[in-house]
């Protein structure tokens, strides 16, 4: 691809947008470039961007997982519940991860082996897993975890870089290798592009889908536990609504909601765009509903823009002929 072609691509657009936002942030706030602020910028949304990585694979594969935020809440609540019942924290963490894995396998079973649409299955999961989380913790806030757990979620281990940020970096590398450098990654695209063709050419569609949903459950659980460590306490309504933020990050990254196209570089850029925008507005003392609206407007624009452009182009060509 030529340089011009690259710039015209979706990633080019995101890169331009990112540059504008970063320059604006630098001009507007003298604190933006501090190492501590850059770490905070990731840290304050770290759980969402961790889950966005696995969501990228799921959506490219032509599916969706709406239950991730509920699984985050479920894992945190299982952890808190076990801890309160007297289990040691490492065991409670394993319990939380297993609960997430089980939830993922449950989703995967209905989607991959029974053939139900993932939209319906994971919508049920969104409600059901949240319900279990709320039953476990009820209307309480469970806290009082050992100091090391809270430190893990809140303090830097390499300068200002926290364990969560390191985990994100490692996962990013793993997902990049799986998606763009492995046989499994190619299958994810093939299935997302054309499910029937993939089936007829002998691709093991079921096991690919099962693997993805199980991984989604496990990673969401990990993110939920990191969220609990960052906040230092657990509530039944933790992470409610996160699934929409996570999915919008992926869509803004240029991943097609119909599956089959998109790449991790785009999602990485989309993460940077949203985090820098949020942070910049925070430093400019724009908070609350205004912040939500600005990010919302950006997302609406960015999801509509490519479709509109395509539409106009088609009409233009139509008129010429």
């Amino acid at each position: 691809m030529t340089i011009l072609g690259r710039l015209k691509s979706w990633e080019g657009l995101l890169l331009g947008l990112l540059a504008v936002i970063v320059v604006m942030n630098i001009l507007r706030s003298p604190y933006f470039l501090g190492a501590g602020n850059i770490a905070n910028l990731f840290q304050l949304s770290i759980e969402k961007i961790i889950v966005a990585l696995i969501m990228t694979l799921i959506i490219i594969n032509g599916e969706i997982d709406l239950s991730v935020a509920s699984i985050m809440g479920l894992a945190a609540c299982v952890l808190a519940w076990l801890f309160q019942m007297g289990a040691s924290l490492p065991i409670a963490i394993v319990g939380g991860l297993l609960a997430g894995l089980a939830a993922g396998l449950f989703n995967g079973f209905w989607v991959a082996y029974v053939g139900l649409p993932s939209l319906a299955v994971t919508l049920a999961g969104l409600i059901g897993f949240r319900g279990i989380a709320r039953i476990l913790v009820e209307d309480r806030a469970i806290g009082g975890f050992p100091v090391w757990f809270n430190t893990l979620g809140q303090q830097g281990i390499l300068g200002p870089i926290t364990a969560s940020i390191l985990i994100f970096a490692v996962l990013f590398a793993i997902v990049a290798i799986v998606l763009h450098g492995s046989a499994l990654g190619r299958l994810v695209y093939v299935i997302g592009n054309n499910l029937q063709a993939a089936r007829y050419s002998g691709v093991r569609v079921q096991s690919v889908k099962m693997t993805l949903f199980a991984a989604s459950g496990l990673i969401a659980a990990l993110a939920g536990i990191l969220y609990a460590a960052r906040l230092g306490s657990v509530r039944g309504d933790m992470a409610t609504g996160f699934e929409l933020d996570i999915i919008t990050i992926v869509l803004l990254g240029g991943v097609s909601i119909f599956g089959g196209s998109g790449n991790l570089a785009g999602v990485g850029l989309s993460i940077l765009v949203i985090l820098n925008l949020r942070n910049g507005m925070g430093l400019a003392n724009i908070t609350g509903n205004t912040q939500t609206s600005v990010i919302g407007a950006l997302l609406i624009f960015s999801v509509l823009a490519p479709n509109l452009a395509q539409n106009l182009q088609r009409r233009w060509i139509g008129r010429k002929t």
Binding site: S29, Y31, G34, G36, N37, N40, L44, D139, R140, A141, G143, N150, Q154, Q155, L231, G232, S233, R235, D237, T240, G241, N279, G282, L283, N285, T287, G288, N289, T292
Partner: protein, 345 residues
């Protein structure tokens, strides 16, 4: 001299004169960035506190504008942490927090203090008091329990009855302290006929609180009163009962804003409720934070200062939190049919 004193109408002036020996005058005119962080944006009491803080900012001639920043209700906990973190990055002089995040705010508040920022809590403190310089308490939290028990007795009469509490969020330290104080007060034999049967949480969101009130009605057919120590919950509960045409069977009480409650008090749904002035609370919080940040006062037991029109205040140990310091504002105003209309104006 004596006539002069009598002529001074304001009690505040009197207090200020008698205590002049020890109370610190906070010198105005310092330019300092200060952040007022409510639990979330968009409810009346916090806007009133903002108004009071602006009034104090003007009196103290702070040329830097007061930043009134808050999260959205559904993102309150993570949002408060984010705003505190960003304010720390900006190196403001003081942050005034109505804490809705339990001890979850502690790491970010500590980080702020480590950077030399004064952290003053108001309305709702940090439960462990870690990361907090001083808490500006609206009323004595033990007193709140008694006031609520008295109102319940007053409404239900000598026969008492069953009642439930509709609170805000399970992380709100002030709510939890008041509920605990009320449970404590109920141990007194004179409240023996009052029976607390349930506590539910509407998270200070109107719709959730409305639904919780309706759920209480369905769950407990013999319930006679909903006690909501939250300005959002009390309105939602009163509306739920009014919509269900249940006001002659079940009453609402708790802590509410006269302006929002006047209709329900006049029609008998909420015969009696209490509150303090949020304008004054914002005003006093600003004076406290400004005094600490400018170095005029130190966050230690016994420090005494003058807070403009409100008079003299002293920093003391907080009896409700082992390691905490507080400035106690007080007192309560009780509202009923007789005075609610005047207060709502």
């Amino acid at each position: 001299m004596k006539t002069n004193l009598l002529a001074a109408a304001s009690i505040a002036a009197l207090v200020a004169m008698t205590g002049a020996a020890s109370a610190v005058d906070i010198a105005p005119g310092k330019a300092m960035d200060m952040v007022l962080l409510p639990k979330f944006l968009g409810i009346l009491p916090f806007d009133q506190a903002h108004q009071g803080a602006e009034e104090a900012a003007k009196e103290l001639q702070n040329s830097k504008p007061l930043q009134f920043l808050g999260p959205t209700p559904e993102n309150s906990v993570a949002g408060q942490i984010e705003i505190t973190t960003n304010a720390t990055t900006q190196g403001v002089a003081a942050i005034m927090i109505s804490n809705n995040s339990g001890d979850q705010i502690v790491p970010s508040a500590k980080a702020a203090q480590a950077k030399g920022i004064k952290v003053v809590t108001w309305d709702s403190p940090i439960p462990s008091a870690e990361g907090e310089d001083v808490f500006v308490a609206q009323v004595d939290f033990t007193e709140t329990g008694k006031v609520m028990a008295d109102m319940a007795m007053g409404i239900l009469g000598a026969d008492g009855g069953k009642f439930a509490i509709l609170s805000a969020s399970p992380d709100a330290a002030n709510q939890n302290a008041w509920i605990a104080a009320m449970k404590d007060a109920l141990k007194d034999p004179k409240y023996a006929k009052l029976q607390l049967i349930d506590t539910v949480y509407g998270n200070d969101q109107s719709e959730a609180s409305y639904n919780q009130a309706n759920a209480l009605v369905d769950k407990h057919p013999d319930m006679k009163l909903i006690m909501a120590p939250t300005s959002v919950g009390i309105v939602a509960a009163a509306k739920a009962l009014q919509d269900g045409k249940l006001c002659d069977k079940i009453k609402v009480s708790g802590l509410g804003v006269p302006k929002e409650m006047v209709a329900y008090t006049m029609n008998g749904c909420a015969p009696q409720f209490a509150l303090w002035s949020f304008v004054d609370l914002g005003y006093l919080s600003y004076y406290t934070a400004y005094g600490l940040a400018s170095g005029a006062i130190k966050a230690e037991e016994g420090a005494t200062f003058k807070a403009g029109r409100m008079g003299e205040y002293k920093i003391t140990k907080d009896p409700t939190r082992a390691k905490g310091l507080r400035v106690l504002m007080g007192p309560f105003s009780i509202y009923d049919k007789k005075n609610v209309e005047a207060a709502a104006k």
